[in-house]
Amino acid sequence: MWKAFFLCLTFIFTINTFAQNIEVSLKNSSGAELIDINVQLLKDGSVLDFKKTNQQGICIFQRAETGVFSLKFTSLYYKTKIVEIDTNKQNSFNFVLEPQITEIENVEIKARPKIAFQKKDTISFNIKSVQDGTERTAEDLIKKIPGLDINDAGKVTFKGKQLGQILIDGNEFFGKNQKIATQNISADMLEGIDLWENYTKINDGKSTALNLKLKDGYRGKITGDVKTLGGTNNNYLIHSNLFKFNKIGNFALITDFNNVAKDPLNFMDFYDMNSQDDVSNLPSNQDMQAPSFLNNDGKVKKKDNQFAAFQYSKNSKNFRISAFSVLDASQLIRQNFTNRFIINSNNSVINYLENSRQDNKGLFGTTNIKMRQNFNDHSFLYYSFQYNPTTDKASQNINRFLNDSIFYGISQKNRKNVVGNFLSWNKNLKNNLNLVVAANTKHILDSENLSINSNVNLFNLNSDSLNQNYKEKSNSYGLDFYLSNKTKFFNYTLQTGFSKSDNSANLTQEVTKNKNLYKTFNYLNSVLLSKKIGRFDFSGKLEYNKMEINNVSKNYLNKNFSIHYKPEEKIGEEYNLEYNDRYSPASVLILQENPFYTNLLGYSQNVNIMPLDLVNQKQLRFTYNRFNFTKGNFNLLVVEYNFSDQLFTQNYFNFPQYSIIKNQIGNFDRKYLIYYNNNQRLSKNYRLSSKLTGFQSNNKNLITGNENRSKIQSLKLEQKISSTNQDFPFQFDFGYTYLKTKMQQSYQNTSASQEQYNLLLNLKTTINKEWIGNLSGNYLVQKTSFQTRNNFLLNGEVTYQKIKSNFEYNLTFSNLLHLNNFDYIENNNTPLGNDQVVISSLRGYVIAGFKYKFN
């Protein structure tokens, strides 16, 4: 015991002996001591400590280490001087300063606290500069920050680019399901928001991330809320989110039950949850179709959701884990009335009316676990697991009124299970040289049952009923090696990999059966080089693939080049030019040579596409952005050109009762996109936001064997003026949206167009920090070639929470003036026909209730 005590004392004594005093004495040229002089102790340009000289003109620094330091002397009355000192040789230093007066200028500081600050790869947003108390969720705050936005799919974008992750205090939160974070973390919980441009993911990959920083009061205890609302036409919304952020990890539990079409998940979330971004070289030959019940485009008659999600994440020095599970059940009803004009296979125009109602029910789940264990030898193991089961049931009743009334009853059931595993070992060999060995597996089982009944013969089959069963099974295995290094001349990453994939497809229709087997081997070698020259960043990647399907092989080269230019560090201005050239094989479904029937009352069939026929897509993209951090002024311009001369196309044969789509090799596809976004401070209290989106698509397909050029043009212009007066209790947004879409088919020269004008006035208020209200009025004009509709839409939400009370009372209303019914109209022109559609949509509702906050 005593021995240990003495050892401990000796240790402390030894430490103390190493701490040294550095004494600095300052005088003027007359030898008088200089008092009140600022003295900074620096090492490699960074400030370590600061002192002022005392009445004797002396200051003393204490440092544990010895070595070469710098001293910087500043004063209003003496010339700034920087000297180097070596404390290995001496501890006491004397210097003489020359007089020089720094005159204090009169400066009026007009700039108020900045909206954002940048330090290296992090941009910190000062949320206090945009907050006015009317924000309820993190989403409300994010939308107010210039440069940040939330797109239609609920993803956060910065300067037009979708962000990779949302983090809570640096921890991953529900993977890529950003909406869960932005809509469940309340604005009150946030202390600040950081944008990390080079976030290191749990698997060491790089991504952009938005880190939501919590206030201290929300850590270490259960926080969150439970909300219950009910109202007109048995509408209800029950939502809860509970969090515990503490040392043993971050927990989140979110549930939602509603029948007012408030979707906790959308189809983009589905794609993100199914994409295994860890697998780098598996060819993407899986058709990933989102379940129909997730496809809520805002034009559904009814949508019920039952949703539960659980998340756990923990970061410690050597171990990181992030796991979440999501279960979503939904019911959806769509009802359309269509007046369709089709070009018949004998070139005559046929017109019929169709009344279609679709009832979808489905279940979607995901479990995702990511773990990382660090070792002392600068290596780590990373493992990820994903399991995604999906069930999608749809029943559809279609009545077509041609000469007679034709009835179709369609029942469809899809089941899909995806299981993925990924294991990698990452080792830092020396300095910047890293080696990664990665292995992955992915198993997909996809089955679909389709049953169609009618009062007429179906598809010329001499039968008024049809049953089809389709099963697709895919087992994939991959092994990859990566070697990356940062050298004086350039940075590089070399990759070599191998993957094997077995795909089988069984198609059974009544008594006919067809089975296809595809054994795929893919060998991949790639080199990525990047180099910074001045303010330019150059990057290029070449990816050589040798793909073998059923003993036939083909080579192809994917290419990617980019140039990035940043003129000056202090101004957030960037130019980026990127070129992509990629090949991808056909999906197993496109290769089906037997008719594959669908619920669209038609079938598709492969004509001449072989398994190794590849689609080649090229993209040229230019981006310019400028962000003034003080005023928050933001400009973004994106110009994109996508083109392909090697692709798959369709030959359409249209009949009054059904359509045939023949898949074949094609050779022309062009897409042009221009996007401009400007957010400008007009004065201290007003901001103007403008967005322009232009899109044009030209492609070549066939109708009844004849060449048909399809053209789609779309123009969307949005402008909104918003008040930002934080001293005033009322805020407003006033603006408009104009949308015009035109579709044309060269065959028989048909076209359709539609226009939409929307005038918006949004009033927001916060009173005594107790009342928050927003009232949104939209005057919507829908104009098509067959009809014009004018509607006034009134939405709003009022909440009241007494200060320091845990209860918040809520009144929400949507489309208040259309509580019985509401319709959208569309005019579409596709190779299937020219459709004039009336879509019966969700009627308005009023719901009220309360929210209990745990804090």
């Binding site: 600022n38 400030v47 370590l48 600061f50 209003l76 400066v107 009026e108 108020r112």
Partner: protein, 244 residues
């Protein structure tokens, strides 16, 4: 030569007196007193509106001395009249905010804060009680000034971000945030953001107030004991009034 040096030093000494720094600061605060349960809803409303207006502060520096003070604000009060029979009873609520007066003296690292409890006046002194002071590489330009960031971690783990400029090489700033290698132009704290709105040389000699040496000075335990004693006395006096 020595005579020339002495002459130059004297001339230079005269010039020294010509620098009277004045810095105006504004503060955006989070609400504090308005959330108190002791006030009526009307009073809370008035306080909340008052808190939304930026508070104004002034810093004066000369000869190594500094004086930091808050500009007087309109007193917030609320009167509720209730009538019982022929009598009208008035309930008056008001908030009296202690004046902010912080002094720093040449050659002394301490900050002296002025207090007045009832009619008893005194000073307390302290140094910024920090766990860690970390100088960062972050920079930002505030008007003409290049500012550097220093992060101060307080004993309660709160992190205060302080932006100072070496262009005005004076170790001066608001409250006790005045021991950095330049004039402090902005402070970002969890509950407030304070930012300079004007830097000038227009202060006058009499603006740089100094402490009244006749008043007692307390610190640490002695200061806490004194405050307790004064508060207890105040409480007793209030109780006596109620008994009467």
């Amino acid at each position: 030569m020595k005579i020339l040096n002495t002459f130059l030093f004297l001339i230079f000494g005269l010039l020294l007196k010509a620098q009277y720094l004045q810095v105006n600061y504004s503060v955006i605060r989070e609400s504090s007193v308005s959330t108190s349960k002791n006030f009526s809803p009307e009073m809370k409303k008035k306080l909340l509106e008052d808190e939304k207006k930026p508070a104004e502060f002034r810093l004066f520096v000369a000869h190594g001395n500094s004086y930091f003070t808050a500009l007087p604000r309109e007193i917030v009060s609320n009167q509720t009249d209730t009538s019982k029979g022929k009598s009208v009873y008035s309930h008056i609520e008001t908030v009296i905010v202690d004046p902010v007066k912080i002094y720093r003296l040449n050659g002394d690292e301490k900050n002296y804060a002025y207090h007045k409890v009832d009619d008893y006046e005194f000073y307390s002194f302290d140094k910024l009680d920090t766990k860690a002071v970390t100088y960062r590489e972050d920079m930002q330009i505030i008007e003409n000034y290049l500012c550097k960031l220093v992060e101060v971690t307080l004993q309660n783990n709160q992190i205060i971000k302080i932006w100072y400029t070496e262009s005005v090489p004076l170790s001066a700033g608001p409250f006790s945030y005045n021991s950095f290698p330049g004039l402090v132009l902005k402070i970002e704290a969890p509950s407030f953001v304070m930012y300079a709105t004007e830097v000038s040389n227009k202060a006058k000699e009499e603006d740089v107030k100094t402490i009244n040496k006749k008043l007692p000075v307390f610190s640490g335990e002695a200061y806490r004991n004194k405050m307790k004693e004064l508060n207890d006395k105040k409480q007793n006096n209030q109780n006596k009034v109620i008994k009467l």
